[in-house]
């Protein structure tokens, strides 16, 4: 059978383009970084209410992304939400014990994320530690309710 070199080349390029396309979708569009999963450490934080926080949401510090939310589950001892955070390795040993975590919203309608802010304790957090000081998500209905009841009591 006659084998057309141009056809083989065309099919080869086509498949190569497909693979490059998947890479593009992975790196540029979904923002996958080529990093081993080992260079993170885990912290836990309990929140009274997480609002609309989802797994894989960003964890930021001063607006810089430093990690992701790894898991969210119900803590049946306290009936609040236990959020597991994966934080970049380079921060291990630099976050003070009294670091606070709060659930914030980007913009008025944007997604929710966890913001960390450092305290002044000389002791630092390491893998598996829990954050004591947390601030729950703002829930619009509760805010309104508070506001209305304040008005009434005045």
């Amino acid at each position: 059978m006659k084998r057309s070199k141009t056809m083989e080349l065309g099919v080869g390029l086509f498949m190569l383009a497909g693979i490059l396309g998947v890479l593009f979708l992975g790196l540029r569009v979904s923002g996958l970084a080529m990093q081993a999963p080992s260079d993170t450490f885990r912290l836990e934080a309990n929140f009274a209410n997480i609002g609309g926080l989802k797994p894989r949401a960003r964890v930021t510090m001063a607006g810089v992304t430093v990690g992701r939310v790894a898991a969210i589950e119900l803590d049946t001892d306290w009936y609040d939400a236990r959020v597991v955070l994966e934080i970049d390795d380079e921060l291990e040993g630099h976050l003070s014990k009294d670091t606070t975590a709060s659930i914030l919203t980007s913009g008025l309608l944007g997604e929710q994320y966890v913001g960390l802010s450092v305290g002044g304790d000389p002791e630092t957090l390491s893998d598996g530690d829990a954050l004591r000081d947390t601030q729950s998500a703002l829930v619009l209905e509760e805010l309104i309710q508070q506001f209305v009841s304040n008005m009434v009591s005045d």
């Binding site: 059978m1 084998r3 056809m7 083989e8 065309g10 099919v11 086509f14 498949m15 383009a17 497909g18 396309g21 998947v22 593009f24 979708l25 992975g26 540029r28 569009v29 979904s30 923002g31 996958l32 894989r56 960003r58 913009g107 008025l108 309608l109 944007g110 997604e111």
Partner: protein, 260 residues
């Protein structure tokens, strides 16, 4: 009345018989170890089915991305949320539009051609004569086409998605003035590789199997006359479009709709 019920019953039996035939056909032709010759035949079909469909798929992808961006912008800007444009374009393309529209285009461009080609081979007795020479047409004619379709459509879908996102970028960033950084970063923050890109590719794999299967089977099973070929070609496009849209709903419900 009884006659009508009987006719319905006969229709049902015919339908199941055809489904059974089609299933058997798929198993017989798609399963098996390819020979060296088979690999070459597959490359040839990849050229016809994949490379030659590339132009229409990419151009459609570009335009759909551009339109999405334009439409999305006019809505999002009302909420002051035009920064989420990248997210909107990427998610709607990757989850829905790329797999579905690429599959529909593929059914029209490649599926109908497959049906007509195999149908013509049947009408001109090429399949029978191949059988008489002692070569199984299922392995020689059908299998390479099936596998070419299975591989080509997911690749085309990826191309559609990439070009569409770039088209959205052209309109959103270069024309409407959305900040470039927020276009990409919002996209990266919201698109998950497994959940969105991966599920989109799984969808397109399912569509690839269904569309190619329908096209090739319609060609192989048609009445070998010129009227039969034209009917079968129409049927290929109609059935595969319906199957793609129907399956899309089912798959979306399973993947994103919380239905396990």
């Amino acid at each position: 009345m009884i006659q009508r019920i009987r006719r319905l019953g006969r229709r049902g039996c015919d339908l199941f018989e055809a489904l059974g035939r089609a299933g058997l056909f798929l198993c017989q032709s798609a399963v098996g170890v390819p020979s060296r010759e088979g690999v070459y035949l597959w490359v040839r079909q990849m050229h016809f089915v994949g490379v030659l469909s590339l132009a229409i798929v990419l151009v459609s992808g570009l335009f759909i991305g551009m339109v999405l961006s334009l439409q999305g912008y006019t809505i999002l800007v009302d909420f002051g949320a035009e920064d989420a444009l990248g997210q909107m374009v990427a998610l709607s393309l990757l989850r829905e539009l790329a797999p579905v529209v690429a599959a529909l285009l593929f059914a029209g461009r490649a599926g109908s051609a497959l049906t007509a080609e195999i149908g013509l081979m049947k009408a001109t007795e090429q399949l029978t004569s191949m059988e008489m020479i002692g070569v199984d047409p299922l392995r020689r004619v059908v299998a390479p086409r099936l596998w070419a379709g299975f591989v080509a459509l997911p690749l085309l879908t990826v191309g559609f998605g990439v070009v569409g996102i770039y088209g959205g970028y052209l309109v959103g960033v270069d024309w409407l003035g959305v900040f470039e950084g927020s276009y990409w970063s919002n996209m990266q923050a919201s698109v998950d590789f497994i959940d969105d890109v991966g599920n989109g590719i799984i969808k397109s794999l399912v569509f690839a199997v269904v569309v190619t299967w329908i096209a090739v089977f319609q060609g192989y099973d048609l009445v070998p006359t010129s009227e039969g070929i034209s009917r079968a070609t129409t049927r290929t496009v109609v059935y595969s479009s319906l199957a793609v849209l129907g399956l899309d709903f089912v798959l979306t419900a399973m993947m994103f709709g919380g239905l396990a």
